[in-house]
């Protein structure tokens, strides 16, 4: 079983963690200036760690269901062998001869997910949404916070729903009344995308601010570590970029017009 405190370093390694965190942050953000070996190294490290971490936790959690957590198999509950065997069948992906066996667990999982999603989505994403649109109050309190004209907000939502849906109606050409509707619908869709973009900016800024707060405020025994480490890390990035620039640029490979001998012999 994976120890519950995995990922948490012992206190004596706090200094190491802080130094590593500062360097990793600077290295990964150096990508914004120019891609370099340090930013790539930290990026690969992050992806690799995340993959191993997820794999380990999934393996541990799945086996704790059947084997060491509940002793279900030991108690003779052999039905749990079925999902274990099915999951092992995924490894047939790596053989040419038995590759077809890999398709069975994929099909089963796809079928289960499709069944679940259809039931869940029709209820929560379709019926309830239609219901709430139909029930929009045209009089009384509005639905938008601080909107000065209650009732008009509901009408705008209804117009937005109808015109945006008409944008995806392709049976007739978008001309005349349908053309006007699709044009209005396009503006509603653009407003939605604008809101999504605003949210994206806000989210990315939050992450950037989180990293900056780590750099400026996370210290080691009240010592503002980053103030000393940031210049060192930046110097490392500059040095690696200068080294990269001093290397001769490799010639871009030009694809050969004539087929290679290997291909000819195959053909």
């Amino acid at each position: 079983m994976i120890p519950p405190n995995i990922g948490q370093l012992p206190p004596e390694l706090d200094l190491f963690a802080a130094i590593f965190g500062v360097f990793a942050t600077i290295f990964i953000y150096s990508f914004l200036w120019k891609e370099n070996p340090l930013s790539r190294a930290v990026e690969h490290l992050f992806v690799g760690l995340a993959a191993v971490f997820t794999l380990g936790f999934m393996y541990d959690a799945a086996l704790s269901q059947a084997v060491w957590g509940t002793d279900r198999l030991a108690q003779g509950n052999l039905i749990w062998l079925i999902p274990i065997l099915l999951s092992l069948m995924y490894f047939f992906f790596f053989t040419k001869k038995y590759f077809f066996l890999y398709r069975y667990p994929v099909s089963i999982v796809a079928g289960i997910m499709a069944g679940m999603m259809i039931c869940g989505m029709i209820q929560s994403n379709f019926l309830v949404q239609i219901q709430s649109t139909v029930q929009l109050p045209l009089v009384g309190d509005g639905v938008w916070e601080g909107w000065p004209m209650p009732g008009l907000d509901s009408i705008i939502i209804i117009i937005g729903v109808i015109t945006a849906l008409s944008f995806f109606f392709f049976t007739w050409e978008h001309k005349g009344a349908l053309g006007i509707s699709t044009k209005i619908g396009r503006y509603f869709l653009m407003a939605t995308f604008g809101a999504a973009y605003g949210g994206t900016v806000m989210a990315r800024m939050s992450l950037f601010i989180g990293r900056l707060r780590f750099l400026y405020q996370e210290g080691y025994e009240d010592w503002f570590l980053a103030w000393y480490l940031i210049p060192v890390a930046i110097l490392c990035v500059v040095a690696i970029m200068l080294w990269q620039r001093s290397r001769p640029t490799p010639e871009p490979s030009v694809p050969s017009k004539t087929p290679s001998k290997k291909r000819e012999s195959k053909g």
Binding site: P4, T54, M116, G120, Q123, M205, S206, I209, Y216
Partner: protein
């Protein structure tokens, strides 16, 4: 350089300006006012309206990359639940969320809380529950079958709090801290939808700002009754908790100031960019 050639401006200078401007409020907070949004009030009211002893599920469905947004949301809400005497069942449907949940719970309930007297009756941490949507549905249908043991290796059937819920309808509030899938939509589809709807399984969400526009239809339909919107939502909720419980630190103020400065800068760049585009288009140049 004329404004019509703004598109040729090296974006790396923008990064430097952004870095410098965002650094100022973090190093020297501006203490800008904090208006509390109705979404945040929804989370606050939903939690405060519960009776002591109500069962709250807290689900850590995010990874390290969104810790700046999701972690303070979850931590402040857990603190409030503890102060109000709620019973908390915490878990993570994301593998990466497993250790994060343990870390947050340790901060709120104390180090080695899994060995404390309140563990098992007042709070439980299941850790990572495998299966994504399937795991969520299994937990909603029969929590004891969702996982064999809790995060610390104790069998779920040995934890008294787990025996108090038969299915999701026995949960008084589901607090979902999410930055993707599985997240709030999967709770709505596979838990709330199967067990009586929003009135039976009230759902509040703390999410990254990028996901919030997509969940507004669910908020408008009442399937979600409160949203903490990214870092801003975390700051607003922290502010409310700090107002009623001064022991809880309000730490997000500098972050919110920095975010406001960054947004003003982005708006400024968007306006300049559009002016440049308009001049180049209508002033005889190429767009």
């Amino acid at each position: 350089m004329s404004i019509s050639k703004v598109a040729d401006f090296d974006r790396r200078y923008i990064y430097i300006v952004l870095f410098l401007l965002v650094s100022i409020p973090i190093l020297s907070p501006l203490n800008l006012p904090i208006p509390i949004s109705s979404h945040t009030e929804g989370v606050w009211d939903a939690t405060l309206n519960l009776d002591p002893g109500s069962i709250v599920v807290s689900s850590f469905d995010f990874g390290p990359s969104t810790i700046p947004e999701n972690r303070p949301q979850a931590k402040a809400h857990l603190f409030l639940c503890r102060e109000l005497g709620m019973k908390v069942i915490a878990m993570a449907f994301w593998a990466a969320g497993g250790p994060i949940g343990d870390d947050v719970l340790s901060e709120v309930y104390g180090e080695d809380f899994e060995s404390s007297a309140e563990y098992g009756t007042e709070v439980i941490y299941l850790g990572y529950v495998p299966g994504n949507e399937v795991g969520m549905q299994t937990f909603g249908d029969s929590p004891l079958d969702a996982k064999g043991t809790d995060h610390y290796g104790t069998s779920l059937s040995e934890l008294p709090l787990m025996l108090e819920i038969e299915n999701a309808a026995d949960i008084d509030l589901w607090a979902e801290w999410t930055s993707g899938t599985p997240g709030e939509q999967q709770v709505i589809q596979f838990v709330q939808g199967r067990h009586g709807g929003p009135s039976a399984v009230p759902l509040v969400v703390g999410s990254t700002a990028v996901s919030v526009p997509g969940m507004m239809p669910f908020y408008a339909a009442g399937q979600i009754i409160g949203i903490l919107n990214g870092l801003a939502g975390a700051g607003e909720f922290e502010y409310l908790v700090n107002r009623d419980y001064p022991d809880y630190p309000y730490e997000q103020g500098p972050g919110l100031d920095a975010q406001s400065v960054a947004h003003v800068l982005v708006i400024l760049f968007v306006v300049i960019g559009n002016i440049g585009w308009a001049i180049s288009k209508y002033g005889g140049g190429k767009s």
